[in-house]
């Protein structure tokens, strides 16, 4: 790279010439060669990121988001190449760079932060060594580099940089690791920072912290950011402008506010409608979905790439590919590749909403009751209490949402209920009023089939050696005690109920998309007409449009069959959508339990309050609610804090009582219990939005 390194505060440069754009893509087309054919995974992408601007690239998996990032850095795998188009970073065309210039560019002008910080850091080097290396590459001496390292770690809000510098990556939490990675990325003072799903693997509370940090750093340093995410809400919170990628094409672009307020491409409209946003629940109606699936790269040669999934599409859409239509919008130009961009917002629903009257389940009989469940693991002489004295009830046909950060004991609790783990002495589980043996091996057939699970990751939960038919049929014969023709008939009706096309029955699971796999898992769980199904993050591995379809399916099945769910998720919107009641766990303890509306509307436990405030919303009203951030790390379950276990991180801690006494349950409303020393009326006053 020639010329001086980019200024530290380019936002003040004021110059708007194209050469000073942080990133310019003109007609970028990238192809991967597989089986002797070029498949274009990015087609004719043009975009500009101005200095200091945050640009969000959003789209479902397989749309080409990561390929774009790799192409920009010239990191494409060996079978990938830029077929046409131009990429320039800070005015320098990267295609014309030789190896030295490219290395110089990567060391000085552009940085990338990947999704998984645990894999981006070298496990055998200390943080000090890894971060200072970035400075040494830029020409600093060893001692200078170490000093810079302390500065940059302070900059990413690490309170004790000296301690962190001596640590190895595995000794840090995920959030802390991501801060270190961001610090390394900032070390070269880049003109462009590429963030590829930087918070996807993190807990909601940590995600909020990292997003805050990125926003603050942008204000301080004025770095331009290319933010790649599948999460529309995160993009909405972080970015000035957004580009929507579909099957390798940029189908819509504009300022974030304009695009989210009035999307002009049916795909964007569909994506926004799929989200279970605030205030939506299974009782208010089904979520909209996007029919069909992503076309194979290069398979659509004529017309609009989205036409086969679009409810607005007509002959013209199937015949002529739409050019980028540019229209003025409230906050700047908006671009949409749709012939009918004016009508996109009126896109007919793909899934009928079906308004339903909320079912009153207050008088429903109890399906499952757990009393004083605890589980202690013994690891290397240390005893680790994953679940501590949890009691809860689940009515027939009701969904109980379990929320909490990772490590809060959600999955352990689910395994206790299912009988995959046996609880410590003193705990008991009842199914329909009768005591349930602790281990699944001691349960009778009726009890076994009554409690089933849908796992988070269908790749791991479905045996890859078996065909879909065998997976479901085995459950039918084992749980439903069906044979022969009766089994075949049930197989047909079950696959129809989970909307699994029959032609997939003979496939292996690896030939199925994520959504179809999860349908197989759901069919399997429902094979024996269960009473209670535990759903352990069933949609977290799925794209939003697929997630919407699965959530609709779960709600429909519940309505048809009166099954109860224990629904575990870190996504509070998803939990809210499906749950009638919600239980909040922290360090294995139940902090709050109550009707979903009560828990969400408050008064709530300070921990719940922090969880709620950490979720990014599509419609972000910055001043509407005070953001509450949890400081510090989740304490170890092997050595929980005294008194109220939450006192070490509680933003509303009132004093010594929190450290000394375990708080009792306070009754806030009918069936709504909060475990906090602060009186309910006081919580209500504190949490009321001004």
């Amino acid at each position: 790279m020639n010329g001086p390194p980019p200024s530290a505060f380019p936002i003040f440069d004021g110059s708007k010439r194209a050469e000073t754009d942080a990133l310019t893509l003109v007609g970028l087309t990238v192809a991967y060669r597989s089986r002797g054919r070029d498949r274009e995974v990015l087609q004719d992408i043009s975009l500009r990121i101005k200095r200091g601007e945050a640009y969000g690239l959003v789209g479902e998996s397989g749309c080409g988001k990561s390929t774009a990032a790799l192409a920009i850095l010239r990191y494409l795998p060996r079978n990938g190449r830029v077929k046409s188009g131009k990429i320039s970073i800070a005015g320098h065309d990267i295609a014309s760079m030789n190896a030295d210039a490219l290395r110089h560019m990567r060391a000085n002008a552009v940085s990338m932060v990947y999704q998984d910080p645990g894999r981006a850091l070298n496990p055998s080097l200390t943080i000090a060594r890894q971060v200072s290396e970035a400075f040494e590459l830029a020409g600093a001496s060893v001692n200078e580099a170490l000093e810079h390292t302390i500065d940059i770690l302070r900059r990413v809000r690490i309170s004790s940089p000296e301690r962190v510098m001596e640590s190895y990556p595995h000794q840090l939490s995920g959030g802390m690791q991501q801060r270190v990675v961001i610090a390394m990325a900032l070390a070269c003072n880049p003109a462009l920072l590429i963030l590829d799903e930087p918070t996807t693997g993190l807990d909601a509370t940590v995600e909020a912290e990292v997003l805050d940090l990125i926003a603050q750093l942008r204000e301080e340093l004025g770095t331009a950011v290319l933010f790649i995410s599948h999460n529309l809400a995160v993009i909405g919170r972080m970015c000035d402008r957004v580009g929507v990628l579909y099957a390798g094409k940029l189908v819509e672009e504009g300022t974030t506010r304009d695009v989210f307020a009035r999307p002009r491409h049916p795909y964007t409209v569909g994506l926004l409608r799929c989200l279970p946003t605030t205030g939506r629940s299974k009782d208010t109606g089904r979520l909209d979905t996007i029919p069909g699936s992503l076309p194979l790269p290069g398979s659509v040669t004529q017309g609009c790439i989205y036409a086969q999934r679009c409810k607005l599409a007509d002959d013209r859409c199937h015949r002529d590919a739409p050019p980028p239509y540019r229209v003025p919008a409230a906050h700047g130009d908006q671009m949409a590749r749709c012939h009918y961009h004016e009508r996109a917002i009126d896109l007919p629903r793909a899934t009928p909403e079906v308004l339903r009257a909320a079912v009153d389940r207050t008088d429903a009989p109890l399906a499952l009751r757990a009393e004083n469940l605890s589980k202690t693991f013994h690891v290397g002489g240390e005893s680790l209490r994953a679940v501590h004295d949890v009691s809860l009830e689940l009515k027939l046909g009701e969904t109980l949402g379990l929320v909490g950060e990772s490590g809060s004991g959600k999955t352990t609790l689910a395994k206790l209920l299912l009988g995959l783990l046996s609880p410590d002495a003193g705990g008991s589980i009842e199914l329909d009023g009768a005591a349930l043996p602790a281990r699944v091996t001691n349960r009778n057939d009726e009890q076994v089939k009554s409690l089933q699970i849908v796992f988070q990751n269908p790749d791991s939960a479905l045996n890859r050696a078996h065909s879909v038919r065998r997976l479901i049929a085995r459950s039918l014969s084992k749980l439903g005690a069906l044979r022969g023709a009766a089994k075949e008939a049930r197989l047909q009706s079950l696959t129809a109920a989970v909307r699994l096309p029959e032609r997939y029955l003979s496939s292996r699971t690896r030939q199925l998309s994520g959504g179809l796999k999860q349908r197989v898992a759901i069919a399997r769980a429902f094979a024996g007409d269960p009473r209670v199904v535990v759903c352990d993050e069933p949609t977290s591995a799925l794209d939003v449009s697929v997630q919407a379809a699965i959530l609709n399916l779960l709600a429909d099945l519940q309505r048809e069959r009166g099954v109860s769910y224990v629904f575990i998720s870190h996504d509070l919107h998803v939990v809210r959508y499906l749950s009638d009641r919600i239980a909040v766990l922290y360090l294995g303890r139940l902090m709050e339990i109550g009707r979903a509306t009560d828990v969400f509307d408050g008064p709530h436990h300070p921990y719940t309050e922090a969880l709620l405030s950490s979720i990014p919303e599509i419609v972000d009203e910055p001043q509407a609610r005070e953001r509450i951030r949890l400081s510090g790390e989740l304490p170890s379950a092997a050595n929980p804090p005294s008194g109220c276990v939450f006192h070490t991180r509680c933003p509303r801690k009132i004093g010594a009582i929190c450290e000394q006494q375990e708080p009792p349950y306070a009754h806030a409303a009918d069936g709504h219990r909060i475990r906090c020393h602060i009186p309910v009326a006081e919580l209500k006053r504190l949490q009321k939005p001004e």
Binding site: S61, G62, S66, L420, V448, L451, I453, S513
Partner: protein, 287 residues
């Protein structure tokens, strides 16, 4: 994120793809050709060879290779060429059967140890480690000396000594599988341990088992030849190569190289052929 949404269109059957890839692999094809040659010799060699491999002719003992005796004759005047061809029969029966025995037993032990973990693994796992620490050939020698050498005992002894080796490979593969959720799902369906081990886990650990078995076959051939050479393997009057080596290696000093070299080359080519096949399979399965 990087897992692209797979198209719903059913793909080509991966098994078919794999066999095509195998046939494209030059190592695999070369290995199979060598193996096929020796298998053909073992099956029909007896009727094809120009001379009777067992007919001794003391007057023509130790004649060098010529037009009648292509590979010469041995100390009893038997035709070496015919004996090398026919000698494939015993070793190609014993070695695969021993491998099969070791693979089946090792798979069963590995599945049990890997699935049950805990004290089962601690006890049997340590036992396996202890057995693996013993030198294989010495153990086999002692065992055969104790029970007496015959084809059946050779199969048993080699099979049993291979069991812990295969078991260790299978155990490692099962360890990776048993933490997957499909095992929990099977438990939640009320499946017994036997079903989970053999119907759920086994199909997913077949690949390392197949690779291990092909590698073992190479070692088994070697082990049979070694034992025969030491007199504890295949017994006379078989035309076995290892046996021939042990009977004739002293004749090398007298210049009768042909009594030894062709048998040794036969053993080497068979082991190389098996290893080529093993390499080919491993290369395709690892992709």
């Amino acid at each position: 994120m990087s897992t692209a949404t797979v198209s719903p269109a059913p793909h080509k059957a991966p098994r078919f793809e794999r066999s095509k890839a195998l046939l494209r692999s030059p190592t695999f094809v070369a290995g199979v050709l060598i193996l096929l040659f020796w298998v053909a010799c073992a099956l029909i060699g007896h009727w094809v060879v120009p001379q009777d491999p067992y007919a001794s002719d003391p007057l023509n003992s130790l004649t060098p290779p010529d037009a009648t005796h292509w590979f010469g004759t041995d100390q009893l005047g038997r035709d070496v060429f015919a004996r090398v061809i026919v000698g494939a029969r015993d070793i190609l029966t014993i070695a695969p059967l021993a491998t099969l025995l070791g693979t089946l037993a090792g798979t069963a032990v590995g599945l049990i140890v890997g699935y049950f973990d805990g004290w089962v693994d601690n006890v049997i796992g340590r036992l396996i480690d202890a057995v693996l620490a013993l030198p294989l050939v010495i153990v086999a020698l002692l065992a055969l000396a104790a029970v007496g050498a015959s084809n059946v005992t050779v199969i048993l002894v080699i099979g049993i000594t291979f069991t812990p080796i295969t078991a260790r490979t299978v155990r490692a593969a099962v360890f990776a599988e048993r933490n997957l959720d499909y095992v929990l799902a099977a438990q939640l369906r009320g499946e017994n341990a036997f079903y989970i081990m053999f119907a759920e886990i086994l199909p997913n650990v077949l690949q390392p088992i197949i690779v291990e078995a092909t590698v073992r076959l190479g070692y088994a051939i070697f082990a049979v030849a070694t034992l025969s050479f030491l007199g504890f393997g295949i017994q006379p009057p078989s035309a076995d190569w290892g046996l021939a080596l042990s009977e004739c290696y002293t004749l090398m000093a007298g210049g009768a190289w042909w009594t030894v070299v062709f048998d040794a080359a036969a053993i080497a080519s068979l082991v190389v052929g098996v290893n080529l096949v093993a390499d080919g399979i491993q290369g395709v399965l690892d992709r």
